[in-house]
Every structure is written in C-alpha cells, then in structure tokens.
C-alpha cells in the first residue's frame, strides 16, 4: 500500500498547484516546490521498486514519470506564449483608434471607450481569459 501512497504524492502535488491558482490566485512562474515534491516521490517509489520488483510498481514508476514530465512540459513550454508583436507602446495615444469599437456592457448597451476614460484620471484595462 505504501508505494501507492507515495505515487499519489505526484498528482497531489500538481493538484495543489492548480488549487493555489484557482482558489487563492497564487501564480507561480516556476512551481519549483511542486516539481520537488514529485521528484522526491519518484525517488522513493524507485527505491521501493528496487526492493520489490513487481509489475505494479514499475507501472506506478512509469505513470509517475509521465505525469511529472507532462507537468514540467506544460508549465515551462506549452503554456508560454509565442512571441507576439506588441503594437502599442507606452506613450502612444490611442484615442482615435478606440473611438469606434464594438464594445458593450453586459446588458448590451454600447460603450464608447474614450467617454469611459473621461470618468477617472486613469483607467486600468485588464484583459482576462475567462475562468482561468
């Protein structure tokens, strides 16, 4: 039973990463602790497998590595944006370009962005991706 628990540390470590992001907004660019927990689990799993070489333990080893490598690939490579041109620079004035855009409120009322900007000295636009 114990190697199974050790194996479960791997997905658990990654699950905690997602819970921290989605529940508490803790964004880690390099989730090193989560990698470390997974590697420690893989180390002990390998040790257990050397003592008692069963097919079940080898499968757990393989699965653990697949999960860990997937998580590392996703965090370090896949989730990274490919370089985008950043067409607007600081100090540019965009008032003419935002004057006629199809923007609306949740109730479908049209929004004229230059008018919205007038309401406060500065406005922070936050682009976000839906749920995540």
């Amino acid at each position: 039973m114990r190697p199974t628990l050790i194996f479960l540390m791997v997905p658990f470590s990654f699950l905690v990463y997602f819970l921290l992001v989605l529940g508490m907004g803790i964004f880690q660019e390099y989730p090193v602790i989560h990698y470390l927990v997974a590697f420690v689990a893989l180390f002990y799993l390998f040790k257990a497998t050397r003592e008692k070489r069963t097919a079940y333990l080898w499968v757990l080893n393989g699965l653990g590595w697949v999960l860990t490598l997937f998580f590392i690939w996703w965090t370090l490579i896949f989730s990274t944006y490919k370089q985008n041109p950043w067409p607007i620079k600081e100090q540019d004035n965009i008032s003419a370009r935002i004057a006629d855009m199809a923007l609306e409120t949740v109730d479908g009322e049209p929004v004229v962005l230059p008018e919205l900007l007038q309401k406060n000295p500065t406005t922070l636009l936050v682009f976000f991706r839906g749920h995540w």
Partner: protein, 115 residues
C-alpha cells in the same frame, strides 16, 4: 479571472490613485454575468464583441481555448483620460498574472512625474 477578484479587494488603493478598473472580456453573456458576480462591483466590465480591442493591443492568443474560441492574453494596460498609454504589461505565459501590489506599484511609478 481570480486576478480580478484580487484587484477588486484592493479597490480603495486604486481609488486613491484615481484609477478605475475595467475588465475586458470576450465571454458570452452567461459567462460574463458569472464572472461579474464572482468579482464584485468594484470592477466595471465591457465586452469586446468582435475582439477589436484585444487586436489593437496584439493580445489575441494564437491558440484558442478548448472550446475553440479566441481569447486574449492576460494583460494590464493603463490609460490616461486623453487616451495616452501609460503602461502596458502582458504575462509571459497563460499561467501567471501580476498581483495587485505589482499593479499598484507600476501605476504609482507611472503617475509620479519624473524629475
């Protein structure tokens, strides 16, 4: 979206700087309502119906989300009343966002006249 919840919790600090927070979404009506409910009233929401605003800033993510829809990269843009861009920041990947303290620091820096 949780980054908006954190910004909303710091709304008094933004008010002090004279900065309003406007979230830009491409979500459908249901999604937008749900997000607005979770975030709370301190953040105004506008829907970028055709993605024109995200395209202006070059923020359309080349990889669409799992439902096949174009979504913007996470980004913060500070604008002055006259439409001048004071600060632009986008995330290096879709996992990380700036926290409210970093955003507030960046705004303060832009609003302090340099001597």
């Amino acid at each position: 979206m949780v980054e908006l919840v954190k910004l909303q919790k710091n709304k008094p600090a933004f008010d002090e700087l004279g900065t309003s927070i406007v979230a830009v979404t491409v979500e459908d009506n249901d999604g937008m309502r749900k997000t607005m409910k979770r975030v709370g009233s301190g953040v105004a929401f506008i829907r970028d119906t055709e993605g024109q605003l995200m395209d202006l800033f070059g923020l359309r993510d080349q990889a669409p989300n799992p439902s096949g829809k174009s979504v913007p990269r996470s980004a913060n843009i500070l604008l002055r009343q006259d439409g001048q861009v004071l600060w632009v920041h986008n995330s290096p990947n879709y996992r990380v966002r700036l926290g409210p303290d970093d955003v507030l620091d960046a705004i303060k820096q832009r609003l302090t006249p340099s001597k």
